[in-house]
Symmetry: D2
Subunit: 286 residues, 4 copies
């Protein structure tokens, strides 16, 4: 806020075992690097005994000097600490099948400057969405998946992740289940949108189930991908009210809007480094 | 609206097998009884093939004359039809255990004229809420329930329902499971509030489960009571957003508000004759 | 619902002075044309003394036969009545300036089959959004507007409305004020999205005003265009929660989402013939 | 979290001119007093150049020792700093006229342990709500107000505030306007609930105005009382959706629910020391 304009805007996140002195030590390093806090939040988890912190600051001495100042603190407190230039884009690979709504929204918002991500490549097991990718000038790679080619397809994905220096994989209605091994490789770096208000209606046909049950709200859930299908740490959920005259097909259409905004929010929070993992739950500093 | 002030305000609901001519026939009887429609809604269910209708009207010839005019229509179309003086209070027996929030809200709103119900009697398996009942001048009957006395307790409830001419039983956080036989007796006339967003987290400890799972929204569900526990036709659901720093105890506290407003809405709609049963789903004309 | 598959799906809307017998007369014509009601709603306005009705039906004898049957009813009750093949697309001209969010959403949803409109042409006083129109294969007409050319520009718009047989004009963040005469010409056929929760913060810079005032919710309002700027009949409003750390620029970004979904909803309801004008208020049968 | 059970739970709030080193200095004092942070948030206001901080901590050395450690920090940074035992009740005087809904909710929640306040006394210019106060065992003081007695009535209120050691005055639908002098005396310590979504529909009849205008959402606003009527710093706002068939009287009834939950939330946040004043806006750390 009050930092002179030459200061570097920095976002810092950390988690570590909880004990006294964490914030004092971190802000000491910040002060030593001519840092001033714009906004910050901290939280100590009763469940896991870990402490979480996120800081937006302006740092006069620059990011590298701050990293040096923090090094002994990181070691002393056994921190998982990350430092980013504030607003630097998260390199994001998007996986899709045939439904366009989530992809269209992410591309539009990235282009409009509303989402701090770069999208170097889109991967799909179908070709339907290639024209949309082309309109936004994003590489589109068709990687078909069959039972026989699944391993090869996942290897291709790994190559693309490496080649494009990808930080985040977003499954934007990608209708294939990832292998346990791939889930493990992408732990904490892959977000899926599930088209139900989990844990209700797991599986492939949630809207049909919701209609059958006669619920009055339907929802969507954005979560980190884990080998336990539909059981990963939840980042965001949202709902929309439905009425008796809505058929299952209407729920599908209405659900698309909820899926779109739930995934968008989860990706935005992740890309702004607002989501931290606390075992199988998430800490979100919104 | 335009009816002269001597006309009787009437609310009509019906359901019957769907076929052409239903609305024409009903509105013909209305016209013949000097009726004018204030507001009405109709719906044909694709799932069950039944037709549903609700009408608010002013009837110059009065309710009994309208009933006579409707009699042949009811027979011709095999209708389940009900007629009420608009706004006439639904006689409501409330069952509670120890938690006061739902009861307090229902009593307050009934007294304030915000809910078209009368509450002749409150039944509880505990005595904690007797003073609250006394403040509102409502009879409070303590009916303890143990495994040994359960049948007798339910018989006592049946007596109270009969004695007080009860139209509706509301389980306002009543923590006993009703027998299958009592559920059958009260079919379509008993509303329960479940403290989760069904079908998630069935059972007795939904908030602990929700906290454990790390969901970002918690909810409540008001439904008609059936022998299938937590599976009755849903009338209303609502949710509230929770955050990582909310402990399970916080969810319980926040959930109380959602329970309160969800149950209140369901009772209001039922008492205004806005809820019709379509097999195991509900039609709600709000 | 139960109509045989050869029946025509029809949507009917009407308004007329309220008096007994309206629904009976209309449903009589429906029955005479082998019609069966799928869903319907009626409302008598206390404020204006007018009666409103909307029907979705299947009609065995077809739309023209139904129109014939209704003719004497229309005359008898002095009805404004409209009949449409259910789901037939509303021909929609979209006007934009430079902001893409509303246009992108409407084009995407039209293409995805989520909005019963056709978009024959997009008109803009800028060229920024021409590529987006081109991607969706929609004609894009650049009509610059200056103080000197305003009349000519509005004449050009009238030509385009006539030429493309346009039913509805949507001002999707079009940043020019229409003349009183054009507003009158388009009465009930032009929808604007205003970027505030009207009547708060009228005028051109609502987000700056909202930030300055420290409100905790910001909103958007979709309304029919009238000569009274920002005073037309409201179709839909929505809000989003903001926090102290959101700068005015954040409100602009968050507001875009609310504008988008508020306009989308208003256009959908209009195109589904769910919105009827009751003087300067709207009746919405959702 | 990890603090031993003998540690004191403390809530700290501060604001001061923004400059580097604030958090480091405060957490240094915390560490020196054997403190451990449970949860904390900070924010630097771009508008006013002030910095805000709130901390929940456990302090081994106790609250007084912490206060001593903080004294030089407070002086160095020119802080407005407050320290409270976490959860210690805020002594709250409630003012009402005749409408019960807000008072009933606050009393119920206070009694249920859901709101960290004590209510030593209720003041009213009417006697209607005396029985409700009596049920909860709270002193009820009738202070009639006429043009002639207004000054005396406000003096009586000041006496009651002093006598009962009151921290917070809540105007729970109190229908008298406070004098400028009293507003000044109570600056930052008096919360009013206004029955509209400010700045729309200021004044005494917001629901009639809202109905007349045909809005689709109505709301309520909880704000600190200032001499500028309906212009005080906003703490919380909320809305509810209305439909064409709701008459002005329905809006009044629906508005009561929004007023109730908006005021309740504002009082809860204030009593938990989550609201800080940033000139005419509020910082809320929820």
């Amino acid at each position: 806020m009050l930092a002179d304009s030459s200061a570097t805007a920095v976002t810092l996140t950390l988690s570590c075992p909880d004990r006294p002195g964490i914030v004092h030590a971190v802000t000491g390093a910040l002060a030593a690097a001519d840092g001033n806090i714009d906004e910050s939040a901290q939280y100590g988890s009763e469940v896991t005994g870990r402490f979480f912190m996120r800081v937006d600051a302006h740092v006069g001495a620059g990011l590298d000097a701050l990293r040096d100042r923090l090094a002994p603190v990181v070691e002393q407190f056994a921190m998982d600490l990350e430092l980013f230039p504030t607003g630097s884009p998260t390199r994001t690979l998007i996986m899709v099948s045939t439904e366009a709504h989530c992809l269209n929204d992410l591309l539009f918002r990235q282009r409009a400057g509303l989402l701090p991500i770069e999208i170097p490549v889109i991967v799909s097991n179908h070709t339907d969405l290639a024209p949309l990718a082309a309109f936004y000038g994003v590489d589109f790679v068709h990687v078909p998946v069959t039972a026989a080619t699944k391993d090869a397809a996942e290897d291709r994905l790994r190559e693309l992740v490496a080649e494009h220096d990808v930080d985040l994989v977003v499954l934007a209605r990608y209708m294939q289940i990832l292998s346990d091994r791939l889930c493990a490789d992408l732990a904490g770096r892959a977000i899926n949108i599930h088209h139900s208000f989990l844990p209700s209606f797991k599986g492939a046909r949630p809207y049909a189930q919701a209609h059958q049950r006669g619920v009055k709200l339907i929802g969507a859930t954005a979560h980190y991908v884990t080998a336990d299908l539909d059981e990963g740490p939840i980042i965001e959920q949202d709902v929309v009210r439905v009425q008796h005259h809505h058929a299952a097909a209407d729920l599908v259409a209405m659900g698309r809007d909820v899926e779109t905004r739930t995934l968008r929010q989860a990706v935005a929070w992740h890309a702004e480094h607002r989501v931290l993992l606390d075992s199988h739950r998430t800490i979100v500093f919104p």
